[in-house]
């Protein structure tokens, strides 16, 4: 705490501005009239002076910064517009381009107004002309004195006051106040609350990535209805009982072991986690222990600050535990090139750069990759900043290449051996045996040496007598030994003596057996040791490597030497922090740092609501989108830090809000006004991500194996994909696992970077080659084919059908209803039931006429059911189950 307080003081001394309420200027009445409302600046009343962050920076950034911005190498005309002092200084022309208060005397305005191609700015060839409206804004801004503001995301987080609203009853927590205040300004009503069945499915999917069981749905609905009755009986507006029930269920899901799995999935994308090394050779690595660490960290609700510190620098903590070391695998998740011709320096540079870019994207929401080759074109980060960060990561005891050509496959160092009690016990025994055998050998050799004169004498005699069969040696004595034997002892040198001694040992049966035993034990020890699972970790070199700026990012062109440092435009690394990864990690979670809390709560918001408050969750820079609800973002960021970086607390706030609990129905007025739902006048509705789609089908059908953690597994996979792409040998055929491995949660599916599981790619999963914090959500025919025909889903339909037929008695309608309940957490409506009923009857008639067809369908997938069912009925119900699994409502979270 003291350290942080000091850091704040340092920051103040360093002139870090504590601006008040940057968002206040932003939140002026905005007229939402079309789908692009967020991209364009809200209209500005003619009388009102433009706001720099809202109105001016986007113009300067997009149209001017590439040549008059932070990148010193690309700068033209000798002036920059991203900083006021510089903008007001003399340019190459000998005068400043901006004259505050005097647009007419400002060359900037003259140039943007110019009509001749040679004069006008921006130059026509860059194809970014300014509109009349933009020029007008620039003029009024200069007239108002050309005031600058720091870019919004770099201003320190201030806790905003919670706004007053005219319908306070709707407000369950602060989130709602901010959202409703905005809706009221826009004149839009919020949507009614979603029904309890929708809500529990939404909660379960959001917090565990699994659908609720029918029993959970039933209990939740009953409890909510009972609580509502109690509340109504108490006072007119009371909802305390209902709230208590709802919150209890939220905690129920947050406490589930599957919560950690759900949260880990997003983190694995960001951390570029995979089971192979990537690049051309793309061989396996062992990294699941790190993945399990992430799940465990979320489940135990480790503070995000500690979560950060352990992953960036767990190995540098005092008395680091094995778990803290495992955590550092985070920055070993990058790809590793094992191609034959790799030049180590080239890829060492690649790995370090990847770590910098990942850190910047994930904690700072900044596109540092731009600054690898030159100063950033838009944001205030220099190439020196990049290599300052690089230096933190340039000190790992690693090679630039993997284990290519090594006879034994093993993770590329540095790695950590995981606890493996059985193997360790076996090793201990082997080592003890070895420790026993080695002195025996030593003793025997001493004995043999002492007996050497007698042995030699005996041998001479034997040779003279003509080698009787029952005395050693049985094999002919080699020529060189014979020669030595003839040599008088006094004339023999050391090498002669050793040679003779070695021969004596090799012909001694007991000695030979002992030596073989020792060799065998050594080999066994090596082999057993290799069986102990390992995981990649970070480890510092005793002597730091020298880091130099790489000109144009090229490892063959080192420039100035730099030392580890944080970017100059952010609060400085406190003087009492070490200039190593541990210092960097602590800096990342210093409350004075304006970015990490904002960037992190925004990603949580994105997970729950589908779109971040800042839509460009990977870019909080000047080219990124500004937040839709800036005050809410800051309030959440501040609350996150105040709560001690409590992830569950922030998620709980989100999912208990009225905002979250709204119906997701796309109201026609909203499709017109706000089709992307950025104003949050309805609940989130979007497609489940790849992993949770399959998990949902497995869970609903009862196939899901819920084991948490362990080595990655290989479920069903279409044949031929690996053979087409991977290197020549047959070992690259994908061999599916057996038993439980086929039905684990999708996050445990073996992730091969060159050929990720096709069902993952079809549903927009990234390749996991670099940090990714936002997935696309496409809607395509290949997805339809996957859900219709993949044996995974056919088998799931088969099992879902079996549950429908066996779990709820013989009535068809009840059975069909059970299918809906298992997948959608609700009963079908009468018209839906009619479609299902007709579907079943049609399929039944067909399969009764074509019994083979049903039998064939019921053979898809390896798992068999325990019960014998009538094939025609089961086949028909499988068709219905597959229908349910393919509904839009099924693939969507509503």
């Amino acid at each position: 705490m003291r350290r942080m307080a000091k850091c704040v003081r340092d920051r103040r001394r360093a002139g870090w501005p504590r601006r008040v309420a940057w968002w206040r200027a932003w939140c002026l009445p905005a007229v939402v009239c079309c789908s692009v409302w967020l991209c364009s600046s809200p209209s500005v009343q003619a009388a009102e002076p433009p706001q720099f962050n809202r109105d001016i920076r986007p113009i300067l950034s997009n149209h001017c910064f590439p040549c008059h911005g932070p990148d010193s190498a690309a700068r033209k005309g000798g002036f920059r517009l991203d900083r006021r002092d510089d903008a007001l200084a003399n340019a190459d022309s000998g005068q400043p381009v901006l004259v505050p208060g005097n647009p007419g005397a400002s060359p900037l305005l003259q140039r943007v107004r110019a009509t001749e191609a040679a004069e006008v700015m921006p130059p026509p060839e860059i194809k970014k002309p300014l509109s009349a409206k933009q020029i007008d804004l620039l003029e009024r801004w200069i007239a108002a004195g050309a005031p600058y503001e720091r870019h919004w995301s770099l201003i320190s987080v201030q806790r905003p006051a919670v706004p007053a609203v005219s319908q306070p009853a709707w407000v369950r927590n602060e989130i709602d106040a901010f959202v409703l205040a905005r809706l009221e300004r826009e004149g839009l009503p919020a949507s009614p609350e979603a029904g309890p069945e929708t809500l529990i499915r939404r909660l379960a999917l959001d917090l565990t990535g699994l659908p609720p069981t029918p029993a959970e749905v039933e209990a939740f609905v009953a409890e909510i209805l009972a609580a509502q009755q109690t509340d109504r009986a108490t006072t007119a507006n009371s909802r305390s009982q209902t709230e208590a029930v709802y919150r209890r269920w939220v905690d129920y899901f947050l406490d589930s072991p599957h919560y950690g799995e759900r949260m880990a999935v997003d983190w694995l994308d960001a951390a570029r986690f995979a089971d192979t090394n990537g690049y051309q050779v793309d061989r396996d690595r062992e990294m699941w222990a790190w993945r399990d660490w992430v799940i465990q960290a979320f489940n135990s609700n480790q503070s995000f600050a500690q979560f950060t510190i352990e992953q960036i620098a767990g190995d540098l903590l005092p008395n680091a535990t094995p778990s803290q070391k495992i955590a550092t695998g985070f920055h070993r998740n990058h790809m590793l090139n094992e191609e034959g011709g790799v030049i180590p320096d080239e890829f060492l540079a690649e790995y370090c750069a990847d770590r910098v870019e990942t850190t910047a994207a994930l904690w700072l929401g900044q596109t540092f990759n731009c600054a690898r080759c030159h100063d950033h074109k838009y944001d205030a980060f220099t190439q020196r900043d990049f290599y300052g960060m690089y230096a933190f990561y340039h000190n790992v005891a690693e090679g630039g290449i993997g284990n290519y050509g090594a006879s034994i496959r093993r993770n590329a160092p540095p790695f950590l051996k995981l606890p493996a009690p059985e193997l360790e016990a076996k090793l201990a025994k082997l080592r003890m045996d070895l420790a026993t055998a080695q002195p025996q050998l030593k003793d025997l050799d001493a004995k043999l040496q002492a007996e050497q004169p007698q042995w030699e004498e005996q041998l001479q005699k034997t040779l003279a007598a003509g080698a009787p069969a029952n005395t050693p040696p049985t094999a002919p004595v080699p020529e060189d030994i014979l020669a030595l034997l003839k040599k008088p002892a006094a004339e023999r040198n050391e090498a002669d003596r050793q040679k003779l001694s070695a021969y004596q040992q090799s012909t001694h049966p007991e000695r030979k057996a002992l030596a073989e035993r020792i060799a065998g034990l050594t080999k066994q020890i090596d082999e057993t040791d290799l069986q102990i699972p390992t995981t990649l970790v970070m480890e510092e070199l005793p002597q730091p490597r020298v880091t130099r700026v790489l000109m144009r990012g090229d490892y063959t062109r080192p420039g100035d030497e730099v030392t580890a440092n944080t970017p100059a435009s952010l609060p400085p690394l406190a003087a009492d922090l070490p200039r190593n990864r541990l210092g960097l990690a602590r800096w990342l979670v210093d409350p004075a740092n304006p970015l990490p809390a904002r960037v992190t709560v925004n990603r949580f918001w994105q997970s729950i609501f589908g779109t971040g408050l800042v839509r460009t969750s990977e870019d909080f820079g000047t080219q990124g989108e500004p937040p839709s609800h800036p005050e809410l973002l800051d309030w959440l960021a501040d609350e996150f830090v105040r709560s001690g970086w409590d992830v569950k607390h922030v998620l709980r706030l989100m999912v208990t809000s009225s905002t979250y609990r709204q119906s997701s129905r796309a109201r026609r007025d909203l499709l017109e006004r706000d089709p992307d739902n950025r104003l949050l006048a309805r609940g989130p509705r979007f497609r489940l991500q790849a992993e949770f789609l399959r998990d949902q089908a497995l869970a609903a059908s009862g196939l899901l194996v819920k084991t948490v953690g362990g080595p990655s597994v290989k479920p069903y996979h279409p044949p031929g994909l690996y053979e087409q792409v991977t290197a020549g040998s047959t070992t690259n055929t994908y061999v599916a696992g057996t038993g439980d491995e086929l039905h684990r949660r999708s996050m445990y599916t073996y992730w091969k970077r060159s050929v990720p599981h096709p069902a993952m790619l079809v549903f927009d999963a990234p390749f996991r080659e670099s940090c990714s914090v936002r997935r696309s959500r496409t809607n395509t025919p290949l997805q339809a084919l996957n859900l219709l025909n993949d044996p995974t889903y056919v088998e799931a339909a088969r099992f879902l059908a079996a549950r429908m037929l066996t779990e709820v008695g013989p009535t068809l309608d009840t059975q069909l209803t059970q299918g809906y309940r298992l997948v959608l957490a609700r009963a079908p409506q009468p018209r839906e039931l009619a479609v299902l009923r007709a579907a079943y009857q049609r399929a039944l008639t067909e399969f009764q006429a074509d019994a083979n067809a049903a039998t064939e369908l019921l053979q898809v997938g390896i798992r068999r059911t325990g019960t014998e069912l009538n094939p025609a009925r089961w086949g028909a119900m499988t068709v219905v189950a597959s229908t349910i699994l393919n509904l839009d409502e099924t693939v969507m979270k509503e």
Partner: protein
């Protein structure tokens, strides 16, 4: 992985069906996204294109220019002499030969002769390709920066060595959309070498969409039951049963749509219809039974074996006939670090006849005029031998400073040799062409200014040619 073109019909259907009463903004919003997906970008192509589609015959592993296209007769006299330092100029070598004690000059074992009226110098390994000499333009001065396969192939495909950018095919799908409603705009087919050569590993990212929407990603067509993943119905489900089942799915989705006018529901209904159409159009496409015997004879003996380069060449023709925008074949196995003479011969057996047959077939059908065919790999090979050099055996290491490819059709000047290398095929002495220049030229032929096809990602307007690339005027017809 998605089928960009398949959105075309979706959009039309959407327009016709959306009379249900969607707000115009919602409609515009949805169309905005889908317009891009189907018809390409507004204003694209930007000028009248010479080529409407591309067949890219990617030779993975780096074919040796010295044995195929870059004739260096004077090397014969320098057999096993040391490569002069003045030629190498201290340029970097891969980790495989950097430690070699000598760099012995290794002339091609194979002879060259002049072919066609244009007199292009081509290797005896390419008897069929020699036949189309007057249709080809051989570029002998292509160069790259990458010295190992993965970065080099990534650069060739995406204009950047580091993974994460869209491939050429994805850019074209994004910019130009598709001419076919029932097939993907960007199809990828991969073949293995028939010889004992180690097949070059590839990577799904090489035909990926990078930061563009995954819907622009190349769709892999494979030999076998399911040319497209999960295309066939499960056993027991006939097409009729599938149709009935899809009607049920559709009915239930429509009931939902009555309650909730989310355009996503309508889009889902349409995607399922397109999936059904794919189930019909793809088997029709891949069924070669109606092709006459003469066609198989032209493409060679391997063309009847599914999954070979020859069979894929024939499929490529069928795909472009149906309006598929970008067909990319990969043939693996060109990485001859050792035993080059036998390895390259086997590779040429796989590729020479079908490549030539494809060009002739396209010409016969009047498709060559607006179809661009490109044949080549990710870099070249060294003039010095990797490992032991004998009279009839040697290997060659990776060489990024110059290599050869050929192009034909859509807007390419036929019967041309472009660019020259030094006497060692080590450095370029005339008309260098960088990968970016090649890509700029390909885009130009397709009616696109490579500087103007951009996509804003992480705040920056990215393009295929990064900040480089000039059109290679000398190869344009």
């Amino acid at each position: 992985m998605s089928v960009e073109s398949l959105f075309a019909l979706s959009r039309r259907q959407f327009v016709s069906r959306s009379a249900v009463g969607l707000g115009t903004a919602a409609l515009a919003h949805l169309l905005g996204e889908q317009l891009q997906a189907s018809g390409g970008l507004p204003g694209c192509p930007q000028h009248i294109p010479k080529a409407k589609r591309v067949i890219y015959l990617t030779q993975a592993g780096a074919p040796s220019q010295l044995e195929l296209f870059d004739h260096k007769p004077q090397l014969k006299e320098q057999f096993d002499k040391d490569l002069p330092d003045s030629v190498r100029q201290g340029q970097r070598l891969t980790g495989m030969t950097a430690g070699q004690a000598r760099f012995p000059i290794c002339p091609s074992m194979y002879n060259f002769s002049q072919q066609g009226q244009a007199g292009l110098w081509l290797s005896e390994l390419l008897p069929h390709t020699s036949r189309i000499a007057d249709r080809m333009c051989v570029i002998r001065s292509l160069h790259t920066e990458a010295i190992n396969h993965d970065p080099a192939m990534t650069l060739l495909q995406t204009g950047h060595q580091i993974a994460g950018r869209p491939s050429l095919g994805a850019w074209l799908s994004y910019g130009l959309g598709s001419e076919n409603d029932d097939l993907p705009a960007f199809v990828v087919m991969i073949s293995r070498p028939s010889g004992p050569t180690n097949a070059q590993p590839l990577h799904e990212r090489m035909w990926g969409a990078g930061f563009l929407s995954p819907r622009y990603q190349g769709v892999r067509f494979s030999p076998g039951k399911d040319p497209v993943l999960f295309l066939s119905n499960p056993p027991g489900i006939t097409n009729e049963r599938r149709r009935s089942m899809l009607d049920d799915v559709s009915s239930l989705n429509r009931l939902r749509l009555e309650d909730d006018p989310d355009p996503e529901i309508q889009a889902r209904i349409d995607q399922y219809e397109m999936a059904f159409r794919l189930q019909r159009s793809v088997p029709e496409l891949t069924d070669l039974s109606q092709e006459p015997k003469s066609v198989f004879e032209a493409y060679g003996p391997e063309s009847q074996k599914p999954g070979t380069f020859a069979a894929n060449c024939l499929l490529a023709r069928r795909l472009v006939e149906r309006g598929v925008r970008f067909v990319q074949l990969y043939h693996r196995g060109w990485d001859q670090h050792a035993n080059l003479p036998s390895g390259i011969k086997s590779q040429c057996y796989d590729t020479d006849q079908p490549s030539a047959a494809l060009v002739e077939d396209l010409a016969r059908r009047g498709l060559l005029d607006d179809t661009l065919v490109i044949w080549g790999g990710e870099f070249g090979r060294t003039v010095y031998s990797q490992g032991k050099l004998t009279a009839n055996d040697y290997g060659r290491d990776h060489h990024p400073r110059c290599y050869s490819i050929w192009m034909a059709g859509g807007g390419i000047k036929p019967g041309t040799m472009y660019g020259e290398t030094d006497d060692f095929s080590y450095n370029i002495v005339k008309d260098p062409v960088h990968i970016h220049d090649l890509n700029a030229t390909v885009l130009h032929l397709l009616g696109i200014n490579h500087k103007a096809l951009t996509y804003r990602y992480q705040g920056r307007d990215f393009r295929l040619t990064d900040i480089h690339g000039s059109i290679v005027e000398g190869i344009l017809a």
